[in-house]
Symmetry: D2
Subunit: 309 residues, 4 copies
Amino acid sequence: MTDLQAIVDEIHGKLQSRLGEGKVADYIPQLAHVDPKRFGMAVVTVDGQVHKAGDCDEPFSIQSISKVFTLTLALGKHGETTWNRVGKEPSGSAFNSIVQLEHEEGKPRNPFINAGAIAVSDLVLAGHTPAEAIGEIVRFVRYLAEDETIAIDPAVAKSEEATGYRNFALANFMRSFGKLSHPVEHVLGVYFHHCAIAMTCSQLARSGLFLAANGRNPMTGHTVVSSQRARRINALMLTCGHYDGSGDFAYRVGLPGKSGVGGGILAVAPGKASIAVWSPGLNHNGNSLIGSLALEMFADMTGWSVFGH
Amino acid sequence: MTDLQAIVDEIHGKLQSRLGEGKVADYIPQLAHVDPKRFGMAVVTVDGQVHKAGDCDEPFSIQSISKVFTLTLALGKHGETTWNRVGKEPSGSAFNSIVQLEHEEGKPRNPFINAGAIAVSDLVLAGHTPAEAIGEIVRFVRYLAEDETIAIDPAVAKSEEATGYRNFALANFMRSFGKLSHPVEHVLGVYFHHCAIAMTCSQLARSGLFLAANGRNPMTGHTVVSSQRARRINALMLTCGHYDGSGDFAYRVGLPGKSGVGGGILAVAPGKASIAVWSPGLNHNGNSLIGSLALEMFADMTGWSVFGH
Amino acid sequence: MTDLQAIVDEIHGKLQSRLGEGKVADYIPQLAHVDPKRFGMAVVTVDGQVHKAGDCDEPFSIQSISKVFTLTLALGKHGETTWNRVGKEPSGSAFNSIVQLEHEEGKPRNPFINAGAIAVSDLVLAGHTPAEAIGEIVRFVRYLAEDETIAIDPAVAKSEEATGYRNFALANFMRSFGKLSHPVEHVLGVYFHHCAIAMTCSQLARSGLFLAANGRNPMTGHTVVSSQRARRINALMLTCGHYDGSGDFAYRVGLPGKSGVGGGILAVAPGKASIAVWSPGLNHNGNSLIGSLALEMFADMTGWSVFGH
Amino acid sequence: MTDLQAIVDEIHGKLQSRLGEGKVADYIPQLAHVDPKRFGMAVVTVDGQVHKAGDCDEPFSIQSISKVFTLTLALGKHGETTWNRVGKEPSGSAFNSIVQLEHEEGKPRNPFINAGAIAVSDLVLAGHTPAEAIGEIVRFVRYLAEDETIAIDPAVAKSEEATGYRNFALANFMRSFGKLSHPVEHVLGVYFHHCAIAMTCSQLARSGLFLAANGRNPMTGHTVVSSQRARRINALMLTCGHYDGSGDFAYRVGLPGKSGVGGGILAVAPGKASIAVWSPGLNHNGNSLIGSLALEMFADMTGWSVFGH
C-alpha cells in the first residue's frame, strides 16, 4: 500500500515556497480578504483512511464545486431528461461566456459553467420555494459529508447577489429563450446560496467519496447514486470541471475534478479515494494554481491517473 | 477473467439489427461507396490476447484516427514545445470550424480538430519533404502494428486533395498568422495522405496498444513513449477525441477514444486493452454511430470505464 | 414643385392590395392585437406643408423610433463624450444580440440597437430619477411635435417590463462590465417607457422635422441642435437605423430612417421633408414591410434619395 | 459658386503639419516603401471643373477602391441576381474576417469586404479566363477615366499573390460552401490584379464621376449605369465603404466613399462632384487617416454632406 500520508506531507512541504502564487478572486470582499498563503489538502480513501495536511480543517467558500452536488440532485429528480435543459460538452470558452448561449438558443453547454449551473438550480427548484431548495441542497451536502455543521456563509451569498450582474444577465438571457421554469430571482437565489456553502477540505473530500466508490458512500453504506451515474458525473468533471482549462487539467492531472473560484478543487480517483485541496490563488482560467499543482504531484506519486500509471 | 470473446460476440450479435444506421460520409466517392452495413471489432489486451468480430480484417480509411499517430510523432520530435503551436482544450465547435482560429489568432484548440492536425502535420514535416514525412508516418504506424502491409490509399488521398477546400482555407488562415513553417501545399500533402491510411480493426487495435500499456508495446517489448506521455495522449483523446461529441462519448463510454469520418474508432482501456471498431454510418457529430454504441456496451460489460465500474 | 399629396395618395392606393403582409410583433399583447392592415403616412416639408394618407392620425407605439429622440437628448447633455459609452458602427447582427457586447466588453456598437439605446437611457438619466428622465423625454417629444397630447401608453410599458428578459440580460451584462452608471431597474425603467410612447404619423413627422432642416424646427423657429449634429444623427440613422437591414434600406430607399417594431418608420429627406409611415407587419429584420415599400416608392417618385436622383 | 480651388488649397495647407500620421500598410514591400508624407487631392465637378492639390498626379495603388468598379461590372453582367452571391449589409467586423462567412455559410456580407470582393471577382469572370476578366476591368477603368495609360502594377499583383494567405483562406472557405463558380486560383488572380491597379487622384476622381452624375459621365456623355444603379452603388459605399469604420466616416464626412489600403479614398457628392484623396498613413480601421480628415474638412467647407448642410 502506498504511504498516502507521506505523499500528502511531501506535497505540502514542496509547495510551501510557492504559496501565494496566483491571483485571489476579488470580485467580492469575502473572497478578496482570504489569506493567499493558505493551503489545505485531505484525502479520504474508499476504505476509510483519512490523510490530511495544512489548513485542511479551515472552512472556505466552495463556490462552483457545489455544482457537482446540485447536478447530482437534479439527476436524482429528473434523470436523463436533465440533458434536455443543459448539454454535456466542454464549452470552449470562459466560465461566464454568453456567446455560446446565443448561438445555442439558451441551452448551456454543460452543468459546470455558470449558465449551466443556473439551469441546474432551476431544475432543483422544481416547484419549491428558493428556501426549500436551498435547504435541500445543504441537507444533501451534510448527508454526504456526514457533518451537520456544514452551512452557507450568508455574507458571501449576499455579496454574490449584490454584484452578480453577469449571472443576472445569463439567467435573464436563458429566460428570454423560455429555458427557465422559475422566476430569475428565485433561480439565482438558489444559485448564489449553494455557491456560498463553506466547507473544509476534510468535509469536501468526504462529501465526494461516493463518486470514488461507484456511487456508494463506504463510510455510511448509503447508496447515493447508481454506479453508472457516478461514472457519468466523473466523466463530466473530467471533460468540463475546470472551465476552459479542463483539457489542461486532464492532461496534467488525469483525474476528474471540479474547481471553485474560492480556490478549492474536489478530485476523484475512481476506486481509490476522494481528494480535496484548497489554495486561494487562481491561474488564468480561474482554477486554483497551487491546488492544481498539488493534484498533479499527487497523481504522479500515486499513479492514480485514470489514463494509466 | 472476463470472457472478452463472448462480450465481443454478444455486442456483434446485438447490433446486427441496427447496422446501416447513421449517415455515411459522402464528400468523396471512396467513402461514399462503402457498404453502410459493415461492422468490425477487435480487442487486443495488454497480455497479448486478441478478440475479434465481424469485418475486423477488412481495411477501411482511418481518417482522423491517424491524428493520434501524428501527434505521437510530433511530441517525439518537439516534446512539450508542441503546445506552443496547438492547444489542449476541447473546441466547443465543429471539427472544421474556422471561427475559433480567428479569435485565437491561428492557434488551433487541440490536435484532433482539423486545424490542429494540420499544425501537427507542419510539425512532423520539420524540414523534410512531404514524401519523407509521409513515409515516416506510414513506417511508424507499421512499426506500431507490427505489420508491413499497412499503406495509404492513393485514391482517397487524391480525392481529399481535390475537394479539401475547407482544409485549404484552414491552412491558409493559419499561414496568414505565421503559424505554419512550411508551404501550405506541403503541409496539406502530409495531412491528406496520413488521413488516407487504410487499416483493419485488428491492425488498428494493435497500433494503439502502447497507449493501453503505459507507452510500451507489450507484444514487441518496444517502448514507444514514456508512461507519462501515454497518459497524456489518452487524456487528449478523452477530452477532444470526438469533436463536439467528446463530452457525450466520455459520458456514455468512459474510455479515451479517437474517431474518424470513415467510421472507425480507436479506444484505449488503460492497463487493459486497445479496442478498434468500424461501422461507416456517422452520428450528427461525425462519429461512428454503431461504433460508439459498441464501445458503450463494451465498457458497460467489462466495467473498464476509467471513471469507475 | 412636386405634387407631394398626389404622390402620397398614389402610394397609399398602390399598397392597398398588399396591406396585411409581414408579421405583426406578438411578444406583448398590446402590439399583437393591432390590426395588421393599418397604414398611415404623413409628410411634413421644411416649408411647412403637410401631406397625409390613411391612418395617419391614429396613435401607434413608436418603440425604437424613440431612440432617435433619446440620442438627441443624450448628445445635448454629454456632447461627443456620448461616444465613449456607445459606438457609431453598424452592428452586423440582430437588434438584440449579446455576442458583440461580450467581444467588445460591454460597449454597444451603436445607439439604435437595444443595448446601445439602453446605454443612452443611462446617459439621459444622468443622476435623475427614472420618473424625471421619462418626463424629460416626453416633454422633449411634445416640444418637437408641438403637441402636448403625446403620451406614454402605460400598458405597453408595463408589458415590456414584464417580458423584457432579453433587455434585462443586456443591461445586466453591460453593468457587469461597469458600463452603466445607474441601477439596471432604473435604466430599463426609462428604456421601457420611452419605447412605449404612442404617436401618430402626423406627430412623428413633425417631431423629426428638425433633422430635415439642419437642426432647426422651421415651424417654431426653435434651434433644436446644430446643423452639424443634425447631419450626424441623420448619418447614424442611415447606417444603423434598420438593424441588420440598414444596408438594404439605404440601397432601396436612400434616406436616413429609424424603424420601430410597432411598424413605424421615421425618415428624413435632408433639406426637404420629414416623413412618417406606419404599417404593423414586419419583414424578417423586424422593420415595417409595407412601410419600407412606401418609402422606397416615395424616394423614387420624389427623387429625394440622398444618393442622387 | 463655392470657390472649390480655394477650399482644396486650404485643406492641403492645413494638413501639411500632420502629413506622416497613421501607419503605412507594410504587408508587401511595394506599399511599405511609399513615402508616408505624400498627399494628393482632386475634385472633378459634374460640370467638368477640375481642382487639384499636392501629389494629385502621382499614381498609387488603388487597392480596394477597385471594388467599386468590379461591383459596377458585376451588376452590369448579372443585375440584381448579384445579391444572391453577396449581401448588402455592413459587416460589423474587420475587412478580412472569416467568422461571418462561417455563420452565414460562405455568403459574404457586402461587396466591399475582401470576401465579398472575391465573390464579385468570381461574378466578373463569368466563364472567361482570368486574363480576359482582368483585361475587361482595366479597359472599364480606362473608359471611365478617359485615360488609356491606366495600368496594373505587376509587382504589386505578384506580391499580393505571394503573401495573400488570408485571401486564399477566404476563397477556399467560400469554395467549400459551393459559393464560387471558378477555380480559387482564377478568382484570386482576378482579385489580386484589380487591387493592383495604379491610378492618380486625378484619374480616380474622373473615373468616379458617373456616380456623382446619376450614372452618366458628363465629360463624355456616356451613360455608364442607370441613375437608380448609381444611387444604389453610392448607398453601398456609404454603409460599407470603410470597413468597420463606415459608420464613423458617414458620421464625420457624410459622403459615400470607398477607401483602399494604399491610402486612397474615392468619395462622391451626388449631383456635385467626385473627389479623390491620397495619403498613405492608415487609421486603426485601415482607412487613410489624413485622407479621411481632408474629406471631413471638404464636406464641412462645401456643405455637401448628403445629410444636410
